[in-house]
């Protein structure tokens, strides 16, 4: 896959984060009601992404990637309680899947849906709600701030840009390693 196609697919897949926040802004009560379901849906999507990888790539390599990814999330989850670990893993999976265009298409789709859920969760976690405050939701920790819509979209846009560039750097690094080997 060429760099331009990869950039376009990453652009689309991570757009889900912003899309999710905007959707939740307009449907906040409905999303707030189902907030506890979101982390489970995110986990289901991560599982689906790995199912796609198992279908398209050799078992041994995908198994190693699975162990590496969940090991990475597990170690830093416990250590720092960070919310963005899933996206580091998704960026790497987008790079790996670019070997097969069909697999990349499915992974892009799942990453987009994952982004919608992440954006929604971020919105729910960082806005004041009339019913209750959300202190902790699965591994997602409340940051102690309540943001207005503008601050939230700016923050999500920063996150979006960061993972966009991380995926592109990883793609360039993968090509460099491939070239050096």
């Amino acid at each position: 896959m060429d760099l331009f196609t990869f950039i376009v697919t990453v652009f689309v897949s991570f757009l889900g984060i912003l899309f999710g926040a905007v959707l939740t802004h307009h449907t906040r009560d409905e999303v707030f009601e189902m907030r506890k379901l979101i982390p489970f849906l995110q986990f289901a999507i991560l599982v689906a992404v790995f199912v796609v990888l198992f279908l398209f790539f050799p078992f041994t390599i995908v198994s190693a990637l699975l162990v590496l990814s969940f090991g990475f999330i597990y170690i830093f989850w416990r250590k720092n309680n960070l919310n963005f670990l899933d996206y580091i893993v998704l960026s790497m999976i987008l790079v790996i899947s670019s070997v097969n265009p069909k697999a990349h298409l499915y992974v892009t789709l799942f990453a987009f849906i994952f982004g919608i859920l992440s954006g929604s969760l971020f919105y729910v976690m960082n806005t004041k709600h009339k019913k209750h405050q959300v202190k902790k939701l699965a591994h997602h920790r409340h940051t102690g701030k309540h943001l207005d819509f503008h601050s939230m979209t700016s923050s999500l846009f920063y996150t979006y840009k960061f993972f966009f560039f991380l995926a592109i750097i990883a793609f360039a690094a993968a090509h460099l390693i491939d070239f050096l080997f």
Binding site: I61, V99, A170, D178
Partner: protein
């Protein structure tokens, strides 16, 4: 004394190192996968290309002449002769394919029926062999 707790999400040095290692490992996996895919043929793409060509040959499905020459389930010999006379490059462009192809006819016992005569058993690329020695275009 009030202890200020860090509540924001920060990147620690070990996380940065872990991400760099992760990128390197993913790069190695990418390289391995890229190598294992080299030299393989995407048969699904070839199959869908062949289906696309067969649809375009059927005037009932795609009424564009040329390249269609099958009408009501039967071959229109006049149209077939026109299609067979087209240069291969032009026909390839008409069918919208970049892959080499061969259009040939078989009878009930899977024997080749020459499209025009013995010298022209099929329509398409000479690199496609209909048997051990006979190319699609009779070469």
């Amino acid at each position: 004394m009030r202890v200020k707790t860090k509540r924001g999400q920060t990147w620690s040095f070990d996380l940065i190192v872990a991400v760099v290692i992760f990128i390197v490992v993913v790069g190695i996996f990418y390289s391995l996968l890229n190598r294992s895919n080299e030299g393989t043929v995407d048969t699904q793409a070839l199959e869908s290309g062949a289906k696309s060509i067969s649809y375009q040959l059927n005037c009932d499905v795609s009424p564009v002449f040329p390249p269609c020459f099958i009408e009501n389930g039967e071959i229109n010999e006049t149209k077939l002769a026109v299609v067979a006379a087209l240069p291969y490059a032009d026909l390839k462009e008409l069918l919208g394919t970049t892959e080499d192809f061969c259009i040939y006819l078989l009878d009930e016992e899977n024997r080749i029926i020459p499209v025009i005569d013995e010298n022209t058993p099929g329509i398409g690329s000479g690199s496609y062999l209909l048997n051990a020695t006979l190319g699609c275009d009779g070469s």
